[in-house]
Symmetry: none
Subunit: 415 residues, 2 copies
């Protein structure tokens, strides 16, 4: 069954709000195994909305609209959808009662225009709205069904969860299941080349890659009559990905982040970590502390932006800073050793670099970053040359520091 | 001039990512006085993309596409747009060089499929990409111009700011000038009610509010024949906003962030700052270090996630932690005092709270955060109860810590 989304609202076209409703409904539709080919946004303009709905009706089995159900003059979604579906509007008695009750309960003054919200397309399934005044509607046509939902997320989400999802589930013969395999330390195009044959050969399951800073996520999706069947289709493809990427795969859990997978490794192996950050100024520690419960293995960290701080807090030698400079492999190494010693941690990560836009030189350009990783006395230092603005350089540095941390833990564990 | 957005990416249709690019570009187009009537999202499917582009070409002066420019098999935006615009693809020498350099600089293994990204529609304006491998393109047709941009926001945003915006600006007959007044420490709905009369009465200039975490941005835009004229229309409205929000306005510069405005204040008044972070784990320091040159006033910071670290690095009293707990106004105060003393800084900020999802209690629920600010011995402590998930709670804590830091500097200066 094909579905498309039509979001109505000038505030989206003006960029005043981010269209989070679309992302929410897309994920739910994907979970239901609905094939979504189009999403559209139009303003509160009946002419353009009509044109779009006629087109949507012609190409999709299911059209989900959100927004424009309110009481005001320019809320015309319902009127336009009813017209395109060839229905007239009739008053729904219960909707009228609930609107009256909504205002009474809140002691709000009710204006006449609110009764407009009790009008529904004849023969439609009314989705009553405990969180607002505008009910939703399902208009079942011969080829196409239109579902109208209110725009505010606090009204739309409960209505979708409690009424729309079960309705769609009951209409859906197939389920789609998917698994997200997340890879770090391999560029997107390199990752893609490694699985090109799988991508080209894909039918069911399908696979798609998503590039993130320092990570590549690979989604395997399968359609089947039942969940078990779908996962049975996914399993061999996932095994194949593990064969090809091995240790570079840090999780196959949709919600698990790189820092979470690392925290698990650290906790499972009773290894503690600390950080000494110059150009990243706390962002690496910030990523680690994204993980609830990381306190078991991450007790403290240091932001040592000045040379003085590097000497005072980490014991980096004055001579090292003088001879090689703050941005050097030698300093990165001493930062890593120094923070591990200061915090009494098994692993210390030191990051120093030129994030820019100022401070770059011929010899040490903007984007040059050294990361040291000291694991129980053994130190690895890597040199990186990142592109982009200050923020991109710093984000990349954090992503690669996490990869080095993970590699260090894996190496330690494998001994 | 009418514009429409076409975002290409199955990951948007599957709900894997929120389409923040659309909100970003919509706001920029509104600033330019372009009329946006449609936004669409399609998957990586050349047939449906072609159909949509033909339609867009027929109804809009300008079509902005984003996504699908990468090196992989399913990146087909460029090929499809070129076909619809009747152009063939030719290799761009500089793009080829830059792609090679991108991999060489990073010592990444370059795979053959990357050369695909050096191919551009003949006669198009190439937008070189310092933050990635895929260049953008402007294809000027007789009626319609298509602009192709890469999907990753850290590539798209700088390319839009530095290359696309000036290009569009030069094509606009009327100048639209705007000024962004940024407010901190006032909630969005409160901010809106304070200026409701201005919003309702707006014609030229117009004003629009944008809610950010802990900030509200108010854009004043004016249309005129010349810049001076437009700014003359903006000036009285801006003065009115200053009358209504006073010190809560931290900048009227489009690009200036809260941390930049604070760094300026600190540098101008020779005040140094340091940070002691528990639940935010380095994010506050990370925000400060966003500012190039902040090292003058921010030398070091502490991440003290464990009680031991709070005692060892900040000198928080064991008794305080035992009697009041790590999440308490007393601990926040001692963290603020302690980090200022340890770093020898004029101002110390201490943050402690329950970010969740675990660790909440009846008495100390998830979202409870205490922030202490010690300025030359005088300490302010504020209690906050933030909503949302772990990441939202931590971001809010950082936003309000920055506001407290700013207030402390202003108070110090005004003495």
């Amino acid at each position: 069954m094909t579905v498309e989304l039509v979001c109505v609202g000038t505030e989206i076209l003006m960029g005043n709000i981010v269209n989070t409703n679309a992302a929410y409904m897309s994920e739910k539709c994907a979970m239901l195994g609905l094939s979504m080919y189009y999403q559209s946004v139009v303003g509160d303009n009946p002419g353009r909305l009509r044109e779009l709905l006629v087109q949507a009706k012609g190409r999709s089995d299911l059209v989900i609209l959100c927004g424009g159900l309110g009481p005001t003059q320019d809320d015309l979604t319902k009127e336009t959808a009813a017209e395109v579906m060839g229905r007239s509007l009739v008053e729904d008695a219960r909707a009228r009662q609930e609107i009256a009750a909504y205002f009474k309960d809140r002691r709000f003054t009710m204006t006449e225009n609110n009764w407009k919200q009790a009008m529904v397309p004849e023969g439609s399934i009314v989705l009553y709205n405990p969180n607002g005044t505008a009910p939703g509607m399902i208009i079942e046509g011969e080829e196409t069904t239109m579902i109208l939902l209110p725009g505010p997320p606090n009204e739309l989400i409960p209505m979708f969860e409690e009424q729309v999802y079960p309705y769609l589930r009951s209409r859906q013969p197939e389920v789609i299941c998917s698994r997200m395999v997340k890879v770090c330390g391999v560029g997107e195009s390199l990752a893609e080349t490694r699985i090109l044959d799988l991508i080209e050969g894909q039918t069911n399951p399908t696979i798609a890659t998503y590039a993130k800073t320092g990570e590549v996520h690979i989604r395997i999706s399968a359609k089947a009559a039942a969940e078990e069947e779908a996962y049975a289709l996914i399993a061999p493809m996932e095994e194949e990905l593990y064969r090809r990427f091995g240790d570079h795969i840090f999780t196959d859990q949709e919600q698990e982040t790189l820092e979470e997978s690392i925290a698990k490794l650290l906790i499972a192996n009773r290894l503690t970590v600390t950080t000494a950050e110059s150009c990243t100024g706390g962002l690496l520690a910030g990523r680690l502390v994204n993980v609830s419960g990381v306190s078991e293995v991450f007790k403290e960290g240091y932001i040592t932006y000045s040379n003085e701080a590097k000497e005072k807090l980490l014991g980096v030698a004055k001579e090292t800073l003088a001879q090689f400079g703050a941005v050097s492999p030698q300093t990165a190494e001493e930062m890593a050793r120094g923070c591990a010693a200061a915090a009494g941690a098994d692993i210390g990560i030191g990051i120093t670099g030129v994030a820019g836009p100022d401070g770059g030189t011929e010899e040490k350009p903007v984007g040059l970053v050294y990361i040291g990783c000291c694991c129980r006395g053994r130190v690895m230092v890597e040199e990186f040359r990142f592109n982009g603005n200050r923020s991109k350089v710093r984000q990349s540095a954090v992503a690669y520091a996490l990869r080095m941390l993970r590699d260090a833990v894996l190496a330690e564990v494998s001994q």
